[in-house]
Amino acid sequence: MTIRSRTVAWSGALSALLAVAVVASAGMGSVSIPPATVAKALLSADPLPFAFDVGRTNRIIVVNVRMPRIALAALVGFALATAGTVMQGFFRNPMADPSIVGVSSGAAVGAVATIVLPFAFPFGLELQGAAFVSAVVTAFAVYLIATEDGRTPTATLLLAGVAVQTFLGAVISLLLLHSGMSIRRVVYWLMGHLGGTTWAEVRVIALVLPPLFLLLLAYARDLNVLLLGEEDAHALGIEVERTKRLLLAASSVVTAAAVAVTGVIGFVGLIVPHGMRLLVGPDHRILLPTSALAGASFLVATDTLARSGSAEIPVGIVTATLGAPFFLYLLRSREVTGL
């Protein structure tokens, strides 16, 4: 089977899985709605041409209350898994995750500062805008720190990322000390959450993600060649530094767009690409789309769990409690020899 047909088959299957997860999730909650009704309600939503009669209440619950949150979960899962796949390939390290160059720490500093500090940011930046800007600025700063003479060795980048994350961690701790009454909001944000989502929040990431994902997909082959090592990649006709810059920028913006909205949701960008790599192999032409789709399903499913208990818990806690054991299971049940 060629790589193209394998990609189509896997992507088709994972898209179907995502559709099932979305419909099932939209049916679950304080009011239980059967899947057929959910599907009809979704198909009759605004831009779509169908007009099934599912009742006004069902339609509002599915389309206006549950769907924004589910769509955000899917998009954020998609984004984090995409960025995680690219970062693991980029660093040739299966333990790399989307925030390895400090994107999440940067977003957290921006968000926490907005909540805690008594003054507003300039340019009318809201919490999400501030988080996004500080995430991108952090990634860019790490890149500049690690770059010398136009070359950015990945090892230096990794260490610079770790150092900057540690530093920003201290900044966040300091801000927490002075957070006073708003500490609950800060902690809630830091744990990663999808509650109270509106369509407006979904729209931003829905606009940012597709073009960047397609760009990264167009570089899947370059990412494969980069896995052989930079020297080999150069000998095989890859403009190594330019490609690295582009991959780093695109995946950082993708991550920033996600964490700015939802806070730091861990493990999705780490275990989903890792798990998919064990299933479909290391070739990014198939790994990138399948990881992204699996990441979307994973976050939709875990967020459904997070909100289905008597009290809602931040989804970041669920992804970590489910993700870590699953990761360990993968490690133990398959021989993991490398990327």
Partner: protein
């Protein structure tokens, strides 16, 4: 290949006044060479001479500080990586891979220079990959993960990847470094075949003798400069090697392949130089003594050998070291004249070394002569009975020789000879201590523990 009109023998790679450095360190200094199409050029030289740096500059990984590299008349530094990788394909040295790609995917990556980002996989790509598989005999691994292959197999896969690039020039960085001798030879044979099919190959090769055997031309790099460039026999001279490697080497013809053959000597004295540690006569034959001739000569003894048949390996070794050697005609026994000559040398010697030689009627006189020596060191690797082709007479001679000799195993020869020459050993077994002491005293380059502590 890109340019079918470019015939063999025309300049393909032109390296002009190339300076390459890392920061303050100059690695290549004014390297100038022209490599003709259809040649297999071996890059030889000591560690740190700049072999890998030169390869990395030819393929465009490193930018030179001055000078230029052109391939097919195009300056590599001015080309995009993609354009450069259509001219130059590189087989990397480090073939250990930490990923699970299957072999076909890796070889297909060799087509990257010819593919546009959104272009599909074309017929020409398939053909190039199939040809690469065929030429390297790697198709049978196509669906296996690269990480499951052995070092030699992985080497061939990386060669296949380079062939898929369809570049006229192939660079190989130490293609034999991590391989056993069988795979070293197979790899170089394969490169030879590729050169015969129209490729031009430049390979950094550590092993001078393999390089001499397989390459059309050698480029000897020393201290970042071209020390010599030309056919192996013109490059691998004792003087050039001595200058480049700062080591003692003996150059001869390999008896089987007929190519130039280099033997490195263990210590820092030039062959044929003055000798002042004492006189040693060596009785050997059939290659049993060649090693000791090198070692003892290098250690500074005045070494004589014989009697040996002309053409014998040991005789050749003695010749190449310019030693005093008594010879007789091929297949002839040791005649009276030769025996006199041997006895003279035995008398003059401070020590006679008898190698683990096979004894027939022809060379029995050698043993008889040796029995008169002042000090005898006898190498016994195999029992004498296994190498006695004469019978009881030879055994008697050998036994009497053995009773007066210090009997040693091959590795102990230098220390035993040192002890014998300084006269400090008894013919009994308790000579061990004396021998050790004498050796330590003689070898003043060995730092004593007390020196280290200070």
């Amino acid at each position: 290949m890109n340019d079918p009109d470019r015939g063999a023998g025309e300049p393909l790679v032109e390296i002009r006044d190339l300076d390459v450095g890392f920061g303050e360190t100059t690695v290549l200094d004014g390297v100038d060479a022209t490599i003709d199409s259809g040649r297999f050029v071996g890059l030889v030289g000591p560690n740190g001479a700049g072999k890998t740096t030169l390869l990395r500059t030819i393929n465009g990984t490193l930018a030179p500080d001055a000078g230029s590299v052109t391939v097919e008349g195009r300056r590599i530094q001015e080309l995009s990586s993609k354009a450069a990788s259509r001219l130059v394909a590189t087989v990397p040295q480090d073939t250990a891979v930490a990923f699970e790609f299957d072999v076909r995917t890796v070889v297909e990556m060799g087509r990257n220079p010819h593919r546009s980002r959104f272009g599909g996989w074309r017929e020409a790509d398939s053909e190039a990959v199939e040809r690469a598989f065929e030429w390297t005999d790697t198709e049978q691994f196509a669906d296996r993960a690269v990480s499951t292959l052995s070092g030699g197999e992985r080497q061939r896969v990386l060669l296949a990847r380079a062939l898929a690039q369809e570049s006229p020039l192939l660079l190989l960085d130490e293609p034999t470094a991590s391989l056993d001798i069988n795979h070293q030879v197979r790899t170089l044979e394969l490169v030879r075949t590729l050169v015969a099919r129209g490729k031009t190959a430049v390979a950094a090769i550590h092993d001078l003798n393999l390089a001499a055997q397989y390459c059309d031309e050698l480029l000897l790099l020393a201290d970042g400069e071209v020390a010599a460039f030309g056919p192996p026999a013109s490059v691998l001279t004792e003087d050039a090697l001595g200058d480049a490697f700062g080591a003692n080497a003996v150059v001869s013809r390999h008896p089987v392949t007929g190519s130039v053959y280099v033997t490195a000597l263990p210590e820092g004295r030039r062959a044929g130089g003055e000798a002042d540690r004492g006189r040693v006569h060596v009785v050997g034959g059939g290659g049993t003594a060649a090693r000791y001739l090198y070692v003892l000569d290098a250690a500074g003894y005045a070494v004589s050998a014989g009697a040996l048949n002309e053409g014998d390996t040991d005789a050749e070794a003695a010749r190449s070291l310019a030693l005093d050697v008594v010879t007789v005609d091929p297949f002839a026994g040791v005649d009276a004249a030769a025996r006199d000559a041997v006895e003279q040398r035995v008398d003059a010697a401070d020590c006679v070394l008898v190698a683990d030689v096979e004894v027939g009627t022809g060379n029995l006189p050698n043993l008889r002569a040796a029995a008169n020596a002042e000090h005898v060191v006898l190498v016994e690797d195999r029992p004498f009975a296994e190498r006695n082709y004469v019978g009881s007479e030879a055994r008697r001679v050998y036994e009497s020789l053995r009773s007066r000799a210090r009997v040693v195993e091959p590795p102990d020869v230098p220390s035993a000879v040192a002890a014998a020459v300084s006269g400090g050993y008894a013919t009994t077994a308790d000579g061990d201590d004396a021998a050790t002491t004498a050796t330590d005293a003689a070898d003043d380059r060995v730092a004593r523990p007390s020196d280290v502590q200070e």
